[in-house]
Amino acid sequence: MSAHTKPLLEIKDLHTRFHTLDGAVKAVDGIDFEVYPGETLGLVGESGCGKSVTALSILQLLPCPPAEIQGRIFFEGKNLLDLGKEEVRKIRGNDISMIFQEPMTSLNPVLRIGEQISEAAKIHKDMTRREAWRWAVEMLRMVQIPGPGSRSRQYPHKFSGGMRQRAMIAMALSCNPRLILADEPTTALDVTIQAQIMTLLQGLKDDFKTAIVLITHDLGVIAEMASRVVVMYAGKVVEEAPIKELFKDPRHPYTQGLLGSIPVIGRKERTGRRLQEIPGIVPGPLETPLGCRFHPRCHKVINRCCDQEPPMIQLAEHRRVSCWLEA
């Protein structure tokens, strides 16, 4: 990920607002990050921090209005926000695809699995119905679904949670995308199934050199999958770091708090039974605090945090933090 490689995806000053009766909700409020070819970027944060909205904004899957997307999203040099509907459609599902969190609700219950997987190939690769179906069966085989031929003729309700997630992955991969946006791909699954899916994603990524944006709140999954991490809080990026540095030397108090608040097997012998807490709750989108958004919950808060928004401090390449303590 040196300075020479050109980023595959470059997000600059992205704002996503939702116009509601109570006023404009700033779900994403001016974020920047890049994704390089073949890497796995982790996007971490708790519910309501704007990580899913970021992914949906990239693919323009939000109905506008009520949503309003501003900023620039460069994919291979083209600003996706300048493209027309038809042009975005050509990219969506073809060059960039998405894996959704809930394998239960994101498959169409009245269409056969093969039908759903072959849809993208029919649209983007000009395949006939029969070719596309054969392709779908191949994809199912690749994601290790036993008996892919007969499985492709079944409906989603016949699939278990793990198999539905595999089918989702098959769908996302069916046009050999260069970028996959994976929104909490394993959150709804049991640990042993999660391990299966993670191994599968890792293997497919190595084989196809696909870049992945992995959106999750699970720092364990991040530690095992991502090479670089962007931490979000209340619609803003608070920290970015290569994976090892983030865990070894988290700079933002929020990242520090997150890392301290998760129970880690075998750690209580050393640290006792009390977990580090982040007091309070994530602020609602309509009650964003002044100054640093984290200041009401921060244990290192200083005066200027309360009324001035902290600048983004670049510490090194891909190492930045938005905190007054670093300024």
Binding site: M163, D190, A195, H217, D218, I222, F247, I262, L275, E277
Partner: protein
């Protein structure tokens, strides 16, 4: 003597089918589970979805009527009690539910929710009830001024605190915690775990802590039981189980937990396939269809829980 003893607990749900809705089969949700909960300890109960851990928790309180077994609490077999006796004993045996959204009545305010067990079990005046509710709210980290608010005005973590206050109202001896933190965000999860640990120390509570998150269970438990397809496959102290798991399923389960440390790279034991249906559990050891160490005997004979020393029990032929 143990505080709570569960012996050979079974719960089979009937499967009805056909126009006469005759019973056509059974779902063996809990199949011969035995364990004991000691005074002041936390016993973790882990397993993947569908393993029967929630059914065990609810059967103990008879929120689900068990098919067979024996549950001894305060020298009484809960399964033989009449309604009124059961109601009385539930004062000392409480439950916290997983979903902080659906386990609180949206039409009652917080004061009424926490006061309900007090009104049902004690004959005390309204002022006494109000004082007790205020005390309980403070205890769990809520402001007593919020007594007149309704559940929808609270966040997930605060709602879980309301549920905890309600469970504590009658000074119980034991609380069954059914996935109390799995619906919460990580930073809020830590707050609730700390609260539960602190209350346990102060009130000498016993917890049966049911969860699917192995890191959370390890953190809070003194002993842990691992369930698979309605049975306990391993039971040990948290240290013994996490450092030296004996059952192949426990080993696979533990190796699958992602570790939040990028410097550690472990080899995962990736199990093939899904959990089999509890309607038709496999013969012999129910894990043999997915077990990487399966022997011929495993498909024929059901292993029993054996003591391997130091209270480490395992149900495996190996």
């Amino acid at each position: 003597m143990s505080l709570l003893e569960v012996k050979n607990l079974k719960k089979y749900f009937p499967l009805k089918g056909g126009i006469l809705s005759r019973t056509t089969g059974q779902v063996r949700a809990v199949d011969d589970v035995s364990f004991a909960l000691e005074h002041g300890e936390t016993l973790g109960l882990v397993g993947e979805s569908g393993c029967g851990k929630t059914t065990v928790g609810r059967s103990i309180l008879r929120l689900i009527e068990p098919t067979a077994g024996q549950i001894t609490f305060k020298d009484q077999n809960l399964l033989e009690l009449e309604r009124e006796e059961l109601r009385k004993i539930r004062a000392s045996l409480q439950i916290i539910f997983q979903d902080p959204f659906s386990s609180l009545d949206p039409r009652m305010n917080v004061g009424q929710i926490i006061a309900e067990p007090l009104r049902n079990h004690l004959k005390i005046s309204r002022t006494e009830i109000r004082d007790r509710v205020a005390y309980l709210m403070e205890r769990v980290g809520l402001h007593p001024e919020q007594m007149r608010r309704y559940p929808h005005e609270f966040s997930g973590g605060q709602r879980q605190r309301i549920g905890i206050a309600r469970a504590l109202a009658l000074n119980p001896l034991a609380i069954i915690c059914d996935e109390p933190v799995s619906a919460l965000d990580v930073s809020i999860q830590a707050q609730v775990i700390n609260l539960l640990a602190q209350l346990q120390e102060e009130m000498n509570l016993s917890y049966l802590f049911i969860a699917h998150d192995l890191s959370v269970v390890e953190h809070i438990s003194d002993r842990v039981a691992v369930m698979y397809l309605g049975r306990i496959v391993e039971l040990a102290t948290d240290k013994a189980l996490y450092q030296n798991p004996l059952h192949p399923y426990s080993r696979a389960l533990l190796s699958a937990v992602p570790i939040p440390d990028p410097e550690i790279r472990r080899k995962k034991i990736v199990l093939q396939g899904d959990v089999p249906s509890p309607i038709n559990p496999p013969s012999g050891c129910s894990f043999h269809t997915r077990c990487p160490e399966c022997k011929a005997v495993c498909s024929r004979q059901e292993p029993t829980l054996r003591d391997m020393g130091d209270g480490h029990w395992v149900a495996c032929h190996r």
